[in-house]
Amino acid sequence: MKFASIALRNLTRQKRRSLLLAGAIAVGIFIVTLVNAFTAGTVQVLKENMADLIGGHVFVTVQHKEGDKTIDLISDDAKLMGVVKSLGITDAMLSKTVDLSGTLIFNGKTTAQIMVGAKWTPDSGIKAKLAIADGDFAKAVAIPNGVILSKKTADTLKLQLGDSLLLKCKTVTGQENVGEFVIGYITSDTSQFGGMVAFANRDYINQLANLPNLSSYLTLRVRLASLEEAPAFAARLEAELAKQYQIAPKEASMMSMDANVIKVNQTSEFKGERVKVETINDMLSEITSLSTGLAIASLIMLVFLLLITMIGIANTFRMILYERIQEIGAMRALGMQRGEVRTIMLYEAVFLSLLGVVLGVALAGLAMLGLGIVNFGTDSLFAILLNNGHLSFRFDAASMLISTVLVVVFTWFAALGPSNKAARLLPADALRTSY
């Protein structure tokens, strides 16, 4: 302990120099912490926004082979629901969806849209999801071919309540179809995000998709308590389903939201039917990989910055050695051992690096606070990456620990040379020398 306190005292003897050195380390830590926190936060927000948009965390589809085509369709779900409910999932956590991707057409204007089929009764769950008043919602669902869309879409197509518009889409087997809708309600959502999705009567959507019967649907969506539960639940579900179904292998991300309902699978052949279980993480696997890549890149950048900083630290400790050479000689003459001289200098290096880490993290924290206050609005294309218009940061303890260890190790090595030289000094020579 006494060496640590001596090292601390030594650092405070030249405050400006110590702060400058710590500052150099802090710059690297600041950049790495900010980049990692931004990446992790943005990916998390993206996943949560996608889960909200798509309406779930885990998605189950049943693929059927018909000739050379693979068609997603769930007609008889008794077996499937039995398995899902055996894992503790309630009806409130489930939604059976038919989503049609298509083009809305009105008065010569068009916009791409995902039409989500929803229960079209006054007690439907989408009323709360879209925050629509009871009266307005009841009026909307009274129209059998009514549609609820966002203000963003309505403004794009210059629509008003009661207007009729067309949806050009494809059936589940890829044939052309056109539906006619009447605007039942326009939500106040002006985000790009909200402009992608509209809601309509599931029975009508089923008809447009040409599903075999009204109880058929395309995807079973499971909404869990949190995003973090998704991978473990999906693994359990897949294991249980494997007892009764073939399981489809994982494929590339579906993030593109293909305009076709039919998905042609040329990469893996099968016969009959099989079940596919995916999570939001699977759908956004490319984003997650990008995030991991960015974290690695920032770590590599930190290493380069540290290498440059270590040159300065090594030179500074050489200077410290020459400044204190007589002091070291005196300590050695009074009985301090070589190892103890080295220990004190290395302690100084470690404390310096930890000071740099603390400064860097503090600066990054301030930057995150400041950037997090800025409201970029919900209208931009990047709204899906924002949390209600704000940037999101997520502090990752694991990467912080790795960065800290790297900084400490590099600084320790930078100071090792001068420390060894100081330790090898003969007391008499040291006392005689002056610079």
Binding site: I105, L166, T171, G174, Q175, E176, N177, N260, V264, Q266
Partner: protein
């Protein structure tokens, strides 16, 4: 005696009427026969001019090769520069799109639109109307100065793009002059006009085709064929490696 004469006259009338009843399904088979080249390959230059309200006119030029006996075709876009090298290769039921920028093939659908135009990918395939459709109703009519049959068709499977079509076919040479394509909900989606037929080796090719979008008013594509050649195209033309090689 009168009864016998009346019965004979009635039978003769029925026979005569039967002889005159039109074999509408046979007309579909005839359309296919007139449009397809079973033992020969066909190549031509194609120009697509697409108009969309609010956008500049798009002009694309391509080289087209077709082999009906293998149900294969290749469309290689030559102009504009931004699309140069893009290719659509169909063999049997597989259709691939080649992007020269990524140098990768992606599987696409015969039911998709061709290169952001009003033509569909399957408009370039050999004609299989007799297999893909059945005649629901047929009647005689006039289309301009032409005497035509108007046939209402229903798809026999979900492999075709449009579940329902209406076609105007000349009575003399069984040439399709006009088609109306309908969605599953029986809404008119596209109107196509075929003119300027050229006879080659006993077959007919419409050198001018106009596709009009009935949902997006103002959107249309005119396709003009030129330099039509009939002969034998090397087998290698209908391969991915050929597409990659010529797209460099």
């Amino acid at each position: 005696m009168k009864k016998i004469v009346f019965a004979a006259m009635f039978a003769a009338s029925v026979a005569a009427l039967s002889a005159q009843a039109v074999d509408y399904q046979g007309i579909l088979a005839k359309i296919d026969e007139m449009a397809n080249f079973q033992n020969q390959d066909i190549s031509m230059s194609v120009t697509l001019v697409t108009d969309k309200p609010g956008s500049d006119r798009s002009v694309k030029k391509a080289k087209f090769f077709r082999r009906d006996r293998d149900d294969a075709f290749l469309m290689l876009i030559e102009q504009p520069d931004v699309n140069k090298g893009e290719g659509y290769l169909k063999v049997d039921d597989n259709l691939w799109f080649y992007d020269p920028n990524t140098r990768a093939f992606s599987h696409t659908s015969i039911k998709e639109k061709f290169s952001d135009s009003q033509a569909n990918n399957d408009d370039f395939s050999s004609s299989k109307m007799a297999v893909d459709y059945k005649v629901v109703t047929g009647e005689e009519a006039k289309l301009g100065k032409f005497d035509v049959y108007v046939l209402t068709l229903e798809a026999t499977s979900d492999k075709v793009t449009y579940p329902m079509e209406k076609i105007w076919v000349t009575r003399d040479k069984t040439l399709v002059l006009k088609t109306e394509d309908y969605s599953l909900s029986k809404r008119l989606m596209r109107t196509s006009l075929f003119t300027n037929y050229q006879q080659i080796n006993g077959r007919y090719i419409p050198l001018t085709q106009l596709y009009v979008d009935n949902l997006n008013v103002g959107e249309k594509t005119q396709m003009t064929m030129a330099d039509v050649n009939i002969g034998t195209i090397p087998d290698t033309v209908f391969t991915k490696s050929y597409v990659e090689r010529v797209s460099k």
